[in-house]
Symmetry: C2
Subunit: 342 residues, 2 copies
DNA sequence: GTGAAAGCGCTAACAT
DNA sequence: ATGTTAGCGCTTTCAC
C-alpha cells in the first residue's frame, strides 16, 4: 500500500506553500497560471488525491445529499433516484441513499445516520406510518434543508414536491364518467399516505361534481401489490351490480386486478373500464393497454435535487417555498375507451 | 443556528479529559462504567452528534461503500440496490450511489469521485463500452477492494458476482427444444457485455448439443428496450420460414416483442414459443405469462455488500476469490408450453 | 482508569 | 500573487 500524497508533498515538490497548492487545486483566481500548471502537473504525477474529510472538516460542508426512500425497488422510486443522481452528480454532490422499508422505526434510524454523516441536505419520501416528525427536528434546528417528495407531510420549515394528486385522480375519474361509467370502484392504498388519501378525494369530488353518489362500499383499500390487485378483483366480482369501471391508485396493482377480472370472463373495457396511476412501463404492454396518470418520477428527482441545491447555495430559507407541484396528465389508452375516440 | 457540540464541551461538562469522552463514546472497555454513563447522559443532554469527518480523517476509514451502476431505473438494478442498501445499512455502512449512464466516460468520472470520497470499497456493474479498466487501478494500488457484479470483466485483483449466464441460457434454450422447437431465434443485447455474450453462448451450445444448426441469421442484436423488441418482431415476421420460438435476453424486450408478434396475428406459444430473462414482475402479468430465467437481483446486492464487508473487515485479499456464482433457475410459464405440462 | 499532546490534511484569516 | 499561522474535531500513542 502506497503512502498517501498530501498538498504538503506537492508544495515541497513545486517549491511553494501548501496554501498556494490548496488554492491552485481549487482553481482560485489569485494564483499565477504558470504556478497553477506546475502544481497540477506535479499533483497528477505524484498520484495525489484530495482528502475530502479534511476539506469537509475544515469547510463544515460535505457536498453530500441524503435520501431516505421507503423502498428502492419500485419503478417509480428508482426513476426518482435516477433523476436525483443525475442532477446531484452534475452539481458535484454525492448521494447517500437509504431505505426506510416503509417503517417509521427505520426512518428514524436512517435520519440519525444522515444527521451524523452531516449531509448538507435531506430528501425524504415518508414511511407510511410516520405521523410524528420529531426525528427531523435536528435538521430543522441546524438549518439543514429537508425536502419531502411524493409521500409528504406538512411542515412549516420544509418544502414538498408533489403532483396534484387530487386533480389527477379527479381527471381520471371524470374521464371514466365521460366514457359513460356510472358505477366506479376505486382501489386505494394506505389512506394514511397523503398520496392515496388525495387520490381518493379527487375520485370523490369528480363523482359529486357529476351528480353521482359517492359510496364507501365502492372504495377498496389494499396493499397496492400483485396480491392486492387479485384480492380487489375478487371483491369486485362479488359486487351486485358489477361496477362499470375501476380506478386504481397504482399501475402494478391495476394490471393484476385487470388480469384477474379478465380471467373471470369480463371484457375490458367493454364490461369494466380501467384506469391506473403512475404510467409504469408495464401499462403499455398489457392487453388492453392501460389508461393511467403520468407521474413524472425522473423529473421529480431532478427537481428535488435542484431545489435543494438552490436552497443550499443561496442559503435562502427553505420554509419560504411551501410546495412545488409538477405537471401530471392523464394518458388515455385502450382500457378505458368505451366510446370511439374523438 | 446552534453551536455544534464537541467532545471538548462534554469533557468540560463532565469534568474529564476529551480522551476519556472519546473512549467512552466508542465504548472502550477501559473506562469506568459510571464515568461512561455520566458522559452518555451529558452528551445526549447537550445534543452532541459525533463528527464523522474528524473521525474519518483520523482513522482513515469512511464506512462508506461506493456503487457505480449503469442506470438506476431498471427493475433489476433497483432490486440489486435495494439488497445492497439493506445489508450495508445493517452493517453500519453508507452507500454512495452513482450512475455511469452506460458510458465509460461517466464511469471514469464517477470512479474518480468515489476514489476521492475515499470509499472503503467499490461495487461496480460496468458500462457497456468499458474495455480498459485503468480507471480502477488507483483502487487496486491502494488496496481498496473492488467487486464487480452482473456486468463484469476479468481482473486478477477483484472478485465478480454473477449468475451462470451460459448455463441459464442453455437451460432456457433446451427447454424450448424439449417443447419441440427447432427453429429458435435469439434476441441479444450488446455483445460486448459479458452477460449477453454468455447467454448467446448458452443458446448456441444447447443447439449444438441437440444436433440443431446454429445460424447467425437467427441471432438478432438490439437495444433490449421497448423499441428493440418491436424492431426484432418486425425482423422475425419477415423470416422464411417463421421461427417456432424466440429466446430473448431480457424480459422487458421480450414482452414487447411478444406483443408485436401477437398483434401481427401469431399465437404464443402455438406459433411461436417465447422465453425471456430476469423474472421481471412484468412477466407474470402479460398474456400469456412469460417463461423466463429468474435472476436474483436482490440477493446479488446482498451478497455483493456482504462479501465486500468481509474483505474489508478481515483484510483478506480480495483477489483470492475469483468469482461468486449465484443460483438462477428457469421459471416455466405459459409462453413456452407447446406440449401439455407433465 | 485517566490525561497531555500531537497530528490526520485541509483551508481561511491575516499578513506581506 | 504568495506565505504564515491556526484550527476544524477526533483518536491515539505514551505516560502516569
Amino acid at each position: 500500500m502506497e503512502k498517501e500524497i498530501t498538498i504538503y508533498d506537492i508544495a515541497k515538490g513545486v517549491g511553494v506553500s501548501p496554501t498556494t497548492v490548496s488554492r491552485a487545486l481549487n482553481d482560485h483566481p489569485a494564483v499565477n497560471k504558470k504556478t497553477k500548471q506546475r502544481i497540477y502537473d506535479t499533483a497528477s504525477q505524484m498520484g495525489y488525491r484530495s482528502n475530502l474529510f479534511a476539506s469537509n472538516l475544515r469547510r463544515q460542508r460535505t457536498h453530500t445529499i441524503g435520501v431516505i426512500v421507503p423502498l428502492l425497488n419500485s419503478n417509480f422510486q428508482s426513476s426518482v433516484m435516477a433523476g436525483m443522481e443525475k442532477v446531484a452528480n452534475e452539481a458535484g454532490y454525492n448521494l447517500i441513499i437509504s431505505q426506510s422499508m416503509g417503517t417509521t422505526l427505520k426512518e428514524i434510524a436512517n435520519a440519525k445516520i444522515m444527521f451524523n454523516s452531516r449531509v448538507d441536505g435531506l430528501l425524504v419520501s415518508l414511511a407510511q406510518d410516520t405521523e410524528d416528525m420529531t426525528h427531523f427536528e435536528p435538521f430543522f434546528k441546524k438549518g439543514i434543508p429537508v425536502l419531502f417528495y411524493d409521500r409528504v407531510a406538512e411542515h412549516r420549515q420544509s418544502t414538498s414536491i408533489i403532483i396534484d394528486n387530487v386533480q389527477a385522480a379527479y381527471n381520471a375519474t371524470r374521464h371514466l364518467i365521460e366514457q359513460g361509467c356510472r358505477n366506479i370502484v376505486h382501489i386505494s392504498g394506505n389512506l394514511k399516505i397523503n398520496v392515496y388519501a388525495n387520490r381518493l378525494k379527487g375520485y370523490k369530488y369528480a363523482l359529486i361534481d357529476h351528480d353521482l353518489p359517492f359510496r364507501e362500499s365502492l372504495v377498496l383499500t389494499h396493499d397496492l401489490t400483485e396480491e392486492g390487485g387479485i384480492k380487489a378483483a375478487a371483491q369486485i366480482l362479488r359486487m351486485e351490480p358489477l361496477p362499470d369501471a375501476v380506478f386504481v391508485s397504482n399501475d402494478f396493482c391495476a394490471v393484476n386486478c385487470m388480469k384477474a377480472l379478465k380471467e373471470a370472463g369480463l371484457s375490458i373495457p367493454g364490461d369494466v373500464a380501467m384506469v391506473g396511476f403512475n404510467n409504469d412501463p408495464i401499462t403499455r404492454v398489457v392487453e388492453p393497454t392501460l389508461t393511467t396518470v403520468n407521474y413524472p418520477g425522473y423529473e421529480m428527482g431532478e427537481v428535488a435535487v435542484r431545489s435543494l441545491i438552490n436552497y443550499m447555495d443561496s442559503l435562502s430559507d427553505i420554509s419560504s417555498t411551501n410546495t412545488i407541484t409538477l405537471r401530471s396528465e392523464l394518458v388515455v389508452r385502450e382500457s378505458s375507451l368505451k366510446k370511439a375516440r374523438g
